[in-house]
């Protein structure tokens, strides 16, 4: 079962969401994923994800405007099974 790391960036001013997310993603281990709560779509972060070969998905969230799930592609089936994606 994939392990969630949550980052609530909905009250952070730019570029803190990017800084905090990249710090987490640089140490992200397979089997873990990041759920980021954000009021905007963090496009610059997706370039970073591509370079790190991580996948991402943007979901219209309940508690904040957007939820961004960032994960290893190999974990996608497990995340789908868990209903995360």
């Amino acid at each position: 079962m994939p392990v969630e790391i949550t980052l609530d960036a909905s009250a952070m001013e730019p570029p803190e969401p990017f800084d905090r997310a990249t710090e987490i993603l640089r140490q992200l281990a397979p089997g873990h994923y990041l759920r980021m709560l954000h009021r905007r779509v963090p496009h610059p972060l997706f370039d970073f994800c591509r370079e790190m070969s991580l996948s991402h998905c943007v979901i219209g969230g309940e508690a904040s405007a957007y939820e961004i799930i960032i994960y290893y592609p190999a974990d996608e089936p497990a995340l789908r099974q868990e209903g995360v994606l």
Partner: protein, 435 residues
């Protein structure tokens, strides 16, 4: 899954907006020097050669310069389409605008009206190239509330430039002036009340919620306000019936006041209440907009109960100062304190994508323009604004006002040059480290 109207894929190279941002403060410095070397009577009326030269240095040389640079940056990002012609178009517009403004201002200052024909030609080319490039981006039916307002701003710019060129050509003796009542006032209303206010509205819909972590503007308000402003200006220009004109003035001023009050209210809802110079610049700017709208209403609906007709002229100069130096220049200076570090940081981040270890070595956004430097900018700016307003009522304040205006723009230039140098040094270090 939902997506939002920002595309970082289409972010233009940093030198495109920066060439405009770095040139603009020099026009402000020249404006300060023109006031310093001009007559002590510069503020006695809006028609003195010094004041007309200074007004155009500030509106075209500083404000339009920054705004065009910002549009070259912002519109591709929010519309998701690259500027046709890219660097070449931006470079051409920058050179044409710079030379055109200096010729126009020289024409006003030395009353060398023959220069105005050349100025008109260069400015026509600058704005035509810019508006053509912009039109190809704005025709895409995307972009949300910001693009909605920016479309109106572009139309207002077209009208302002058209009227301005016509007036310049008539000064140069090339044509007869436009057959409009109060043509110079109409030109100013479209420039400041149209292009500037509509563009600030459009930009604020993006940058206030993004940089200051506030709720968004409600769409009904975000679209209703620019529509009201544009329709009011159109009515004021085309309909000469006094009752209709009065209604249009009321609608315009009500829209400006509603925008100012709602934006101040939004800034009060910042999730983080940390001291922020850009937010202070915004508040100063919005208060000046509010005061301008109140003064404009008062001036329009007061026939002439004032003790002296000279006071009415002075109040018109107060209105122009509040709108140009208080509203527009304050917001531009405040945004530059935020946007220049943000763009520098964004571009530096992207250049670290092939070597993540370098991300940790980047200067923090707060180091690119340090908070202490921005605080000095705010203090200088508010001192310059207050002294300018004092200069309208007493000639003794003209020299201090000119010195403070020069210092205000010189400080901005120093901050922007330092930020650019830090960006280039860091970018060079990243390249040599294999980033």
């Amino acid at each position: 899954m939902k997506m939002q109207g920002l595309s970082l894929e289409t972010i233009p190279p940093i030198h495109i907006p920066f060439r405009f941002f770095l040139t603009a403060p020099w026009m402000g410095i020249v404006a300060g020097l023109a006031l310093l070397l001009g007559s002590d009577q510069a503020f006695s009326s809006q028609w003195t050669p010094e004041l007309r030269a200074v007004t155009h240095l500030l509106t075209l040389g500083f404000m339009a310069m920054v705004m065009l640079g910002a549009m070259f940056q912002l519109v591709p990002v929010i519309s998701g389409h690259l500027i046709p012609g890219g660097t070449k178009v931006a470079g051409l517009v920058h050179v044409l605008l710079s030379v055109g403004v200096l010729l126009l201002v020289a024409g006003f200052y030395w009353q060398a009206y023959a220069l105005m024909g050349w100025a008109a030609l260069l400015l026509l080319l600058a704005f035509a190239v810019f508006l053509l490039a912009l039109a190809t981006l704005l025709r895409h039916r995307i972009g949300g509330d910001s693009i909605f307002s920016i479309r109106f701003a572009a139309l207002a710019l077209l009208t302002t430039v058209g009227l301005g060129l016509w007036l310049s050509a008539s000064y140069a003796g090339l044509t007869t002036p436009p057959a409009l009542a109060n043509k110079a006032t109409v030109h100013m209303a479209w420039g400041i009340g149209g292009w500037v206010l509509l563009l600030v509205m459009g930009a604020s819909y993006q940058v206030i919620p993004m940089f200051h972590v506030t709720p968004s503007y409600p769409s009904l308000l975000a679209r209703g306000l620019p529509t009201t402003v544009f329709v009011s200006l159109l009515t004021l220009t085309l309909v000469q019936l006094p009752e209709v004109q009065a209604l249009a003035v009321l609608a315009f001023c009500a829209a400006a006041m509603t925008y100012a009050i709602f934006s101040i209210h939004l800034l009060g809802q910042r999730k983080r209440k940390l001291a922020d110079i850009t937010a202070r610049f915004w508040r100063l700017s919005l208060v000046c907009l509010l005061l301008s709208a109140l003064l404009a209403t008062g001036l329009y609906f007061t026939d002439d109960p004032l003790p002296s007709p000279g006071i009415r002229h002075q109040l018109q100069v107060v209105l122009g100062t509040l709108m140009i130096y208080g509203f527009a220049i304050s917001v531009i200076m405040g945004m530059l304190q935020k946007i220049v570090p943000f763009l520098s940081y964004l571009h530096l981040q992207r250049s670290c994508l092939s070597n993540f270890a370098l991300l940790k070595t980047l200067p923090h956004m707060g180091e690119i323009i340090p908070a202490s430097r921005s605080r000095w900018q705010f203090n200088l700016h508010i001192a310059a604004l207050l002294t300018l307003l004092a200069g309208i009522t007493t000639d003794q304040a003209t020299t201090p006002a000119a010195i403070l205006v020069t210092a205000d723009f010189a400080w901005l230039s120093f901050s922007l040059i330092s930020a650019t140098a830090l960006y280039h040094n860091t970018a060079q270090r990243i390249t040599s480290s294999g980033g």
